[in-house]
Amino acid sequence: MIGSQLDETITKPIAVSTEGIHKSYRSGATVTPVLEGVDLVIRREQCVFLAGPSGSGKTTLLSILGCILSPDQGRVQILDQDISTLDEQARTAIRRNRIGFVFQRFHLIRGLTSLENVCVPLTLQGMPHHKAASRAADLLDAVGLSHRAHTHSHNLSSGECQRVALARALSADPDLVLADEPTASLDATNGQEVMKLLRRLTTEEGRTAIIVTHDQRIFPFADKVFHLENGRIAETAGSTSTALLESER
């Protein structure tokens, strides 16, 4: 069973690959090396977890994969594009059109309703308002929040915020969804709910998902878990998520 699943994913095209990524932070004279040669390959329609101790550089790596940070060294290929060579404008375009982010603290925009928050990436793409609103409404429906569409984001519970953030990440129809500890501020039940949603709306719709987490409870949802330690990928583990999801149905 596991073998056939691996075979299946290996035949999928590569979504994200990195070679020898180095990244260190400089503050004054001190240089803190964080990533010291990260190599990984993630195939399309996979749901991949990025785990590791605090301070190991998970967020840093995710930011590099999300075109937010540039590596000091190494090559990053995302969706057939070598992003190491792109300028800021092209990277912004990739962030806008091909990547969806779910931030750990949601980072919904204050003063906007759930619906308007989900609309933001579409507005940035220049989509007319009525079209954006109808797509956003569909997405809110998909995450089970249509009854909260016109609630201001500061009046939502954290579970609801998380789901709005997920809807926002998906609104521009990205190929790659990146999530930084999406379940950290949620209780066990809500965490499971969000992970189920994430899997349903990403891999099952042909997207690739990379999820940073410490949360052991949600590991079963991963196709693959990368462990980051001392600046490198220490260990890669497969998972039986598909089987688990199947048995739940």
């Binding site: 967020t59 995710l62 930011s63 999300g66 937010i68 940070l69 404008q89 912004t92 375009a93 962030r95 806008r96 059109n97 990547i99 982010f101 931030f103 750990q104 603290r105 980072h107 925009i109 204050r110 003063g111 906007l112 308007e116 933001v120 990436p121 507005t123 940035l124 793409q125 308002h129 926002r168 990440a169 521009a172 930084d180």
Partner: protein, 374 residues
């Protein structure tokens, strides 16, 4: 983009109100303080501005309407002969004492105008009839000055320069730069109050034919009376204003105070706006992280600055209008010309733009990464 900008601006009511109060405050400060200043210095040219004369002719080097030198009255005929001149009349200004019922005296500025045309006589008469100046001993004074003169009324008789003066009418709002009240009367009567020979006068007031050119007529008059100075109305008004501004240091001190007020207002606006944008850096970081371009972030900021400036300016100008309406008096007039209001709005707009774009420069340097970290 508009709706994102405006909705997020409204989201933080407290901050928005603080910044708006700053904008309104600066607009009010600039307009009211500037208005007081303009109101005060305008008093210096009050007679010139309202005197209905197009051209003022007076002694060489004349520098203030209230302090004229004597010129020969008969020269008026030379001016009357100049083409383009419809009317030229002698005009007399001088100081005399008015006796008060309490036994005291108060100095007054006696203004004598030609009896037939009343050119340069009192305007805005609210009590009595200005034409009653034709009657014996008749004078007109301003109702705002009654306190200084121990509350005379229309019909009251006083003595000026030892001669009888009967108040036949009162104007409203003729308060000059000096502390001495103006007393308007006819030319001959003024000469007798001032104890002057009627052969001399202070100015010749000239009115032009309908389509005569002011400057050309001025030059022509100048050729006829080379001994005198000839100025168009606006210019002599400015000369009178300039006299007080430069000789008293009023221009510098009042101007400096106004500038200081302006500065304080601007700093308040700039600071609250700057803080407001800084406070929301993370939000702009989020926008950048989900793919907003520099231009989009920039336009959100500009829209917000524009909205602030616009709303603040409108509220501020409404407040200014209210203040002028309720608090402007002849004693302390607040003159707010359109250029002052527009100028202050423009200034506020510039400050708003600069104050929101400065933190934007910081946003450019702040990575969208901060969103993932915090």
């Amino acid at each position: 983009m508009w709706s994102i900008a405006l909705k997020t601006l409204i989201a933080d009511r407290g901050k928005l109100l603080t910044a708006l109060v700053g904008v309104v405050f600066s607009i009010v400060l600039v307009n009211v303080q500037g208005g007081f200043f303009l109101g005060l210095i305008r008093k210096a040219s009050l007679l010139v501005e309202h005197g209905q004369a197009d051209i003022w002719v007076g002694h060489r080097k004349m520098h203030n309407v209230d302090f004229p030198r004597d010129i020969p009255q008969r020269w008026v005929n030379r001016i009357r002969a100049v083409p383009g001149v419809k009317r030229a009349e002698p005009y007399l200004i001088g100081f005399a004492d008015m006796s008060l019922p309490s036994g005291g005296f108060e100095q007054v500025a006696v203004v004598g105008a030609d009896q037939a045309s009343l050119l340069g006589s009192a305007w805005n008469v609210t009590q009595g009839n200005p034409l009653a100046l034709a009657r014996q001993n008749a004078v007109i004074m301003d109702e705002c000055e009654v306190q200084k003169l121990e509350f005379p009324k229309v019909g009251t008789t006083r003595e000026i320069g030892g001669r009888r003066a009967k108040i036949v009418a009162m104007s409203h709002g003729i308060m000059g730069f000096l502390v001495t009240p103006y007393i308007f009367t006819t030319y001959d009567r003024a000469a007798s109050y001032l104890n002057k020979s009627p052969d001399v006068c202070s100015y010749f007031l000239v009115q032009l034919e309908p389509n005569a050119n002011v400057n050309r007529v001025c030059e022509a008059i100048q050729r006829r009376v080379p001994e005198l100075d000839v100025f168009p109305r606006e210019e002599y008004g400015w000369i009178s204003i300039n006299y007080w501004m430069t000789r008293t240091g009023l221009g510098i001190s009042f101007g400096a105070a106004t500038l200081l007020g302006l500065l304080v207002g601007m700093v308040i606006v700039a600071q609250t706006l700057y803080a407001m944008v800084l406070d929301r850096l993370a939000e702009f970081g989020t926008l950048k992280a989900i793919g907003a371009t520099e231009r989009q972030v920039c336009s959100i900021l500009l829209i917000q600055a524009l909205a602030m400036a616009l709303v603040g300016s409108i509220l501020g100008l409404l407040a200014v209008w209210g203040i002028v309406y309720f608090y402007s008096t002849p004693r302390a007039p607040i003159v707010v010309p359109v250029w002052l209001s527009l100028g202050s709005c423009l200034l506020v707009l510039v400050i708003c733009l600069v104050a929101s774009l400065l933190p934007y420069l910081r946003i450019r340097n702040v990575d969208p990464l901060m969103v993932l970290e915090s």
